[in-house]
């Protein structure tokens, strides 16, 4: 029997236009159809592609800026289309919300039909058992009722659900776990996505830099970057302070890093120790529900700048570690000292190289090593005077040179431990040490338990839904000379080849059960189909089953 597409509802004869309610119902049916689900899955896959074609703001804002500079014409259009934040864009959200809605719409009727299936009894077979792929006839030397009873025990032992039908037909079915697993899979996937959205909405992520030996309070102002969820209020940041006791990095012989380790202590508001842990790349620390990860590091050369103040007395506006931005490719670290309190204002570009190798270059000139390890650090300082524009937003690592003139045409090169005079008797710069700072990522994601639970259930549901098959077996026995003629039929809705094998074994078992029942052994098979050679098993020598190959 071919299953036709379900009958489409036509407008009532006599009414010229379809009813609105009817239209809506039809649209709803279409919405929760498999076809819609399929189209939406494709739409989701296709929409995701865009997210990998263009640089994404949440991942790397710098590359987006670069892209906009490189493509002045297309860039802004793409930006308006949300191409630089595809996964946060309205149209991407629309696709997945539609998919989620379709999923929920699907789950309702599917759950209802599973419940109906579990409540109802296994259905009757079609009248002609011989039509089924799996079919066997046995002759039993017992009355029909006893024969059916023997088969019932075998099927019950194999955990089939059973139902007796009029005329003595026994219907058996198993494999409900398939649909239950599939439902669990879909519900769990929904749960996972809900957890994802919840964590994103109520969590946050940000980065804090802490220099060795120093502390940073977990406050909004101390974050270099801060990405709160839509529903994350600033008052929700727990109050604690992180102290970086020590930072260590180790390297492989070829210079690639092997380990970063930040020894951190978390202190509460009154300075009491909450936690103390060495945080390495795969081992974060948890403080007050916030996870602290080691994500990057940089150098903070200890720099002392002494200049003449406005009253002529020497002042040291900079005396301590200076945060610099480390370029991970060249291993050059750049920072800036800004002295807006002087007149004219003074700015220093400070560059630290990890290694100055004397006499290594051509003609015995010194060369700079771009080694991630501190070999022989050297500071190169270039001074500027003029207007720093300190009231404008700018990076702490660089100077805004638009209002500045160079102090001299050659930079100062200061070896580790050395001190040099600034041009024009302005003052001195001393390079007294190097510290490291750690870039810590702090994140709170309250959705994680939900996502993890959902993911686990996705797997739990997936396996039975792919491997359990639903199958039915029918048995009927009718009086025959010498006892009964027992007919069995089997139908697998999936996994037909494996079921053919199972059916064969089942028939053999029924035959053995008939043989053990009072009244003597079972008799000979009656299947007349001569086409495929009967498959014989040792224990089933006296019947023939007929199994035709079929697709799954």
């Amino acid at each position: 029997m071919a299953v036709q597409a379900p009958p489409t509802t036509r407008p009532e004869p006599g009414s010229p236009t379809p009813q609105l309610g009817e239209l809506l119902r039809q649209a709803w049916r279409e919405f929760r159809s498999m076809r819609t689900a399929l189209v939406l899955l494709f739409a989701l896959a296709a929409a995701s592609i865009f997210g990998s074609l263009f640089p994404q703001r949440p991942i790397s804002p710098q590359r987006v800026e670069q892209y906009l500079l490189d493509h002045p014409a297309a860039g802004p259009v793409l930006d308006r289309l949300g191409m630089f934040d595809v996964f946060g864009s309205a149209w991407y959200t629309a696709v997945y919300v539609a998919l989620l809605a379709a999923l929920v719409a699907c789950l309702l009727p599917r759950t209802r039909s599973l419940v109906r299936m579990l409540r109802s009894r296994p259905p009757r077979a079609s009248a002609r058992y011989a039509r089924y792929h799996n079919h066997a006839v046995l002759a039993a030397a017992v009355p029909p009722e006893q024969a059916t009873e023997a088969a019932r025990r075998v099927l019950a032992g194999r955990r089939y659900r059973l139902a007796g039908h009029p005329g003595g037909e026994l219907a058996a079915e198993k494999g409900y776990l398939r649909e239950a697993g599939s439902l669990l899979f879909h519900v769990a996937f929904l749960l996972l996505l809900v957890g994802l959205a919840y964590g994103k909405g109520f969590g946050y992520r940000g980065q804090i830099s802490v220099v060795e030996g120093e502390e940073a309070a977990n406050a909004r102002v101390n974050y270099d970057s801060f990405t709160p969820g839509r529903f994350f209020g600033p008052g929700q940041l727990p109050r604690f302070t992180l102290r970086l006791d020590d930072f260590a990095n180790a390297f492989h012989p070829d210079g690639t890093p092997s380990r970063y380790a930040a020894s951190l202590t978390a202190l509460d508001g009154s300075g009491r120790q909450l936690r103390r842990q060495t945080v390495t790349v795969n081992h974060p620390m948890t403080v007050d529900g916030i996870r602290v990860y080691q994500s990057d590091y940089g150098y903070a050369p200890v720099v002392r700048v002494t200049v003449k103040g406005r009253d002529g007395k020497p002042v040291t506006p900079q005396d301590g570690p200076l945060l610099t931005l480390r370029d991970p490719v060249t291993e050059v670290s750049n920072g800036a000292v800004k002295l807006p309190m002087l007149d004219p204002q003074i700015g220093l570009d400070v560059t630290m190289f990890t290694g100055l190798l004397t006499g290594d270059g051509p003609g015995g000139r010194p060369t700079l090593a771009n080694d991630p390890r501190l070999v022989n650090p050297v500071l190169v300082v270039f001074g500027w005077r003029g207007e720093l524009n300190a009231d404008r937003a700018q990076s702490v690592f660089t100077l805004d040179r638009s209002g500045l003139q160079p102090l001299a045409d050659r930079p100062l090169v200061i070896p580790f431990g050395g001190e040099r005079d600034l041009p024009g008797g302005l003052g001195t710069v001393a390079f007294t040490g190097v510290k490291q700072y750690s870039v810590l990522t702090l994140a709170r994601d309250p959705g994680v338990p939900l996502v993890a639970g959902g993911a686990a259930l996705v797997l739990v549901g997936l396996l039975p839904s792919l491997y359990v098959t639903r199958r039915r077996v029918w048995v009927r026995a009718e009086p025959a000379p010498g006892g009964a003629r027992v007919e069995l039929a089997g139908l697998a809705l999936q996994g037909k080849p494996a079921f053919a094998e199972e059916f064969r074994r089942l028939v053999a078992e029924v035959e053995r059960a008939l043989g053990r029942s009072p009244g003597g052994p079972a008799g000979v098979t009656l299947t007349a189909d001569a086409a495929p050679p009967p498959v014989r098993e040792p224990g089933a020598a006296r019947h023939e089953t007929r199994s035709r190959p079929g697709g799954t």
């Binding site: 029997m1 071919a2 299953v3 036709q4 597409a5 379900p6 049916r29 929760r32 498999m34 076809r35 399929l38 899955l41 989701l44 896959a45 995701s48 592609i49 997210g51 990998s52 994404q56 949440p58 991942i59 996964f87 789950l107 009727p109 599917r110 039909s113 599973l114 039509r131 792929h133 599939s182 992520r205 492989h252 070829d254 690639t256 890093p257 092997s258 380990r259 970063y260 790349v281 795969n282 974060p284 990860y293 994500s295 990522t441 994140a443 994601d445 994680v448 993911a455 996705v458 797997l459 997936l462 396996l463 792919l466 809705l493 999936q494 035709r548 190959p549 079929g550 697709g551 799954t552």
Partner: protein, 323 residues
């Protein structure tokens, strides 16, 4: 042996593996075309030698770098090829009739290694700290097995498309209305599939009549069998791929503090996953079962290829360990 010697040895073994696979494939082609048993046996012998070279290449590379041999995409491809070939050999041991399909399996493996050796090769080196975690091993092993089985299933789907077209031409039959559901009612889906199989029976048997030509397309196994193979490999690979993505997310959570960040690599793994999920759906959807579903599966292979070669060479993300 010094690590440089080991790395050199690995480079030699890798090409030896490619060579063996390329030699074994046509031998299995001979079996497919002329039912030549000796060619099939020789093909398997050469393929086993190739697998040994393949595993040797991975082992020496791992020893050279002093770590597991799946730290970058080049090594990953090598492992995928080894898993594909191992899977096929295990299968051959259980069912002789899949032996000639080795033609396609071995070409896939040879192509995977050669393409990676030419485009993704990097010198053997240590892992960056982020990759130093127990979960990476779980993640990568699952990803290797998932990639291998799912791409194999797409190859079966592609072969199905050829065989099905062939059979349709040989024995034209009226189009089927059945074969899938229009609603989410699982019972209806099941009945529809069951009905389809009953309907299909006569037609398939007709199509299984001995093929006449000697052209490749005439020598393929029956379409229904290929369809079944494709589904069963997907059913095996899909949960593993699902698990691989999850293990990757756990690792990302411990390394970067976020389990999912839509970096290009993650995005394409997700796209691949969605496409194979769509394939599983398509098999149960009216008007999609059969050819269209098989095309969806082929699309999955395309997604894998993009994930490997395009994303790794053109697009960079946090996963740029791949480079």
């Amino acid at each position: 042996m010094s690590s440089a010697t080991l790395a050199d040895l690995s480079d030699t073994l890798v090409w030896l593996a490619v060579l063996s696979y390329v030699v074994a494939a046509p031998l299995l082609g001979l079996e497919l075309a002329y039912r030549s048993r000796w060619a099939g046996r020789a093909g398997v012998a050469v393929a086993i030698a190739g697998l040994a070279a393949n595993l040797g290449a991975a082992l020496t590379r791992g020893l050279a770098a002093g770590r597991v041999p799946w730290g970058n995409m080049y090594e990953y491809s090598m492992m995928v090829a080894a898993v594909v070939v191992t899977g096929w050999l295990v299968w051959v041991a259980r069912r002789r009739e899949v032996r000639p399909l080795g033609l396609f399996v071995l070409l896939l493996a040879a192509l995977a290694i050669a393409a990676a050796a030419l485009t993704l090769r990097v010198p053997a080196g240590p892992l960056v700290p982020a990759l130093n975690s127990g979960w990476i091993k779980v993640h990568v092993v699952a990803a290797i097995i998932g990639t291998a089985t799912l791409s194999l299933s797409s190859v079966f789907s592609a072969l199905y498309l050829v065989a099905e077209r062939n059979e349709r031409r040989a024995a034209p039959r009226p189009p089927l209305v059945a074969g899938g559901a229009r609603t989410a009612d699982r019972a209806e889906v099941d009945e529809a599939i069951a009905g389809y199989a009953v309907e299909e029976l006569e037609a398939t048997e007709a199509a299984e009549a001995p093929a006449t030509g000697r052209r490749l397309k005439d020598l393929l196994p029956p379409a229904a069998r290929l369809d079944d193979l494709a589904f069963r490999t997907t059913a095996f690979g899909f949960p593993i791929w699902t698990f691989a993505i999850m293990a990757g997310a756990i690792w990302a959570q411990s390394a970067w503090g976020r389990y999912w960040g839509w970096d290009p690599k993650e995005t394409w793994s997700f796209i691949t996953w969605v496409v194979y999920a769509a394939y599983l759906h398509a098999r149960a959807t009216a008007g999609w079962r059969g050819r269209s579903a098989a095309w969806v599966s082929v699309l999955g292979l395309v997604a894998f290829v993009v994930n490997f070669y395009v994303v790794n060479t053109w697009v960079v993300g946090l996963h740029s360990y791949a480079k």
